[in-house]
């Protein structure tokens, strides 16, 4: 990327709560610093201008409709760098919970006899449709990581999401482990980078940043079973966020 002209940045959203964009908007002064470095040319939630000429696209949300597939492909073709922003875009998040049912069934539950008016396909992260260059995990996308990725892009650096579990950050912050309170925590198999925010506030980790590269789900089952949970319930816990790819949980369970 040349420094003469500022890189052009666009924000897009697919099915999601738009909390990630909102987090970016809440960067305050840092947002002004960002605007010094790049030109934001498209951001529907924040501005009326639109441009189909951009270098870097931040995309939040899951792909849940046929039309989304076309749209994300177009964005991919236009942008040099595509960043998936937040859990919906990186791992499917709650959107993909519906994938456990048939699409007809979920449509019927929510829309009843009007179901046929709607187009919905199993929800998937952006990387399941087009290649993604950078990802920011979290629900909402973690701001420190967003800034790190932003700086990596501008410096032409690769960014590898940390392949360490949340426990690491939890320990670095000298938190009390929530297991010591008799609560369950998905931290040991969840990719860190959130600065262990939930556990730092005494809550459990729900796994919003996705699983680490090689989670020991075997150990997870063992430990969770100690809390009297059945295998389905354990899988259910993982599935609050981790639903894509469909079979990854079962597969990794069987190879332990």
């Amino acid at each position: 990327m040349t420094t003469q002209t500022k890189p052009r940045v666009a924000f897009f959203d697919f099915a999601c709560c738009e909390g990630c964009q909102l987090e970016v908007l809440s960067l305050e002064e840092q947002l002004l610093d960002m605007v010094e470095l790049v030109d934001i040319v498209t951001w529907r939630e924040a501005m009326s201008e639109k441009s189909d000429d951009y270098d870097i696209a931040f995309c939040e949300g899951s792909i849940t409709r046929e039309a989304d597939i076309e749209r994300i492909k177009h964005i991919r073709e236009t942008a040099d760098i595509l960043v998936s922003l937040g859990a919906c875009a990186t791992i499917g998040c709650h959107n993909a919970l519906k994938n456990q049912f048939s699409m007809d069934e979920v449509l019927y539950i929510v829309y009843g006899d009007r179901a046929e008016w709607f187009d919905t396909i199993p929800a998937r992260p952006i990387s399941a449709v087009v290649p993604v260059d950078y990802q920011v995990n979290g629900c909402p996308a973690s701001l420190p990581e967003f800034l790190t990725v932003f700086k990596h892009i501008l410096m032409g650096k690769e960014y590898k999401p940390p392949n360490q579990p949340v426990c690491v950050e939890c320990k670095l912050k000298d938190n009390l482990c929530v297991y010591d309170k008799g609560l369950l925590c998905l931290g040991p198999v969840t990719r860190c980078g959130c600065d262990a925010i939930c556990t730092s506030y005494g809550h459990t980790c729900f796994g919003c940043r996705g699983l680490v590269d090689e989670p020991n789900l075997n150990a997870a089952q063992d430990v969770l079973a100690k809390y009297g949970l059945s295998v389905e319930e354990i899988v259910g816990k993982f599935r609050v966020y981790n639903n894509w790819p469909e079979l990854s949980l079962e597969e990794s369970q069987s190879d332990g």
Partner: protein, 350 residues
């Protein structure tokens, strides 16, 4: 050096005085979780808890912080790289024998060879250390590694007795620290009280390694324990908690954090763990300890074999933190005893 007695109120006044003079770190109780403690900077003497069992992180965080920015840089020419040294001296209170032993071990490891100047400078800021004898729980096994009476770098060491604390004044600095604090002469009764406390403490330590540390090192050096390692690895999350809470672990990572101006930033050192999958991963994708069981083995080897051979003492002080912290319930003593039993069994079979 000398021994005296100090009463509760006097001790409290001493702590207040120290807090006025220096930043003071000591054990505190967790807000929402009674019975759980952590080391933190104290605002007043009543936050300090002397009779605690253990803390989540060891007191090394006072001079070896989990995340320590140590260099400031500015990229454009003329280049500027400046060490970050804006901290002053501090005092560390309420350190148990196992943690005193651990500080001593870190001092040795970090002074060895090319000394780690950063660490030593931080340790040099440690104005004083006051140790205190402890209240063990079922995870403690210091008697197996010989640290139950360690005093290490303590300037003062306190043992609880009926009328307060028996104070071992171990350094001239400790003497100065007491200053005009009222000190009573230790009577025979005080000494007997302290001896009783010690024996009572020993009695309460039930976890135990089934061999001496020498023999354990031999067993590990002998090898052939893969089966046990793999069994442990089956349950291990590789989350690194065991290393990160260990008072003697000292591995770290170094990373740069650049500011949004893309020209200035800091270089940061962060505690690391050899159990994390990417610890020995190099560019090109080679991972020199790729298998989980290899990492598990490395942890034991490093503590009880390599560093033991290098420095003549195991780098484990029996504090039990790793076993308490393990979310998969892997217990260092149990696994060690499994290894010992397995090795003995194998030997018999040969």
């Amino acid at each position: 050096m000398s021994i005296c007695v100090i009463e509760h109120d006097e001790l409290c006044a001493l702590v207040e005085r120290l807090i006025r003079q220096w930043p003071v770190m000591g054990p505190r109780q967790r807000k929402q979780q009674p019975g759980f403690y952590y080391f933190d900077w104290l605002r007043s003497a009543d936050e300090l808890v002397w009779d605690y069992v253990t803390t989540t992180l060891p007191p090394k965080k006072a001079f070896f912080p989990p995340r320590e920015p140590f260099l400031e840089f500015s990229r454009p020419d003329p280049a500027k790289v400046r060490p970050i040294t804006d901290q002053g001296p501090f005092v560390l209170l309420g350190v148990h024998p196992c943690d005193l032993a651990a500080i001593e071990q870190l001092d040795i490891a970090y002074s060895d060879n090319a000394a780690d100047g950063r660490y030593l400078a931080n340790r040099a800021r440690t104005t004083a250390i006051i140790g205190v004898d402890c209240w063990p729980d079922e995870y403690c096994f210091c008697t197996s590694v010989g640290t139950e009476q360690a005093r290490g770098p303590a300037d003062l060491f306190l043992t609880p007795i009926g009328r307060g604390y028996l104070v071992e004044v171990r350094t001239p600095r400790g003497q100065k620290l007491l200053g005009d604090t009222a000190q009573l002469l230790a009577t025979d009764e005080d000494e007997a009280d302290a001896a009783y406390f010690r024996s009572e403490k020993q009695r309460r330590i039930t976890a135990q390694l089934e061999t001496t540390v020498e023999q354990f090192a031999d067993i590990l050096a002998e090898g052939g324990l893969t089966e046990v390692w793999q069994k442990v690895a089956d349950r291990c999350y590789s989350c690194g908690s065991c290393n990160l809470v260990c008072p003697t672990c000292f591995c770290f990572d170094i990373n740069d954090d650049i500011n949004l101006d893309l020209t200035t930033g800091t270089r940061i050192r962060t505690w690391d763990s050899c159990q994390l999958p990417d610890f020995a991963l190099v560019a090109g994708g080679y991972n020199f300890r790729r298998e989980r069981w290899e990492r598990v083995r490395h942890r034991w080897h490093r503590k009880f074999l390599y560093l033991y051979t290098q420095y003549g003492q195991p780098f484990c002080t029996g504090c039990g933190r790793c076993s308490r912290a393990c979310t998969a319930d892997i217990n260092l003593v149990e696994v060690s005893n499994d290894l010992i039993a397995y090795a003995q069994r194998e030997k018999r079979n040969v």
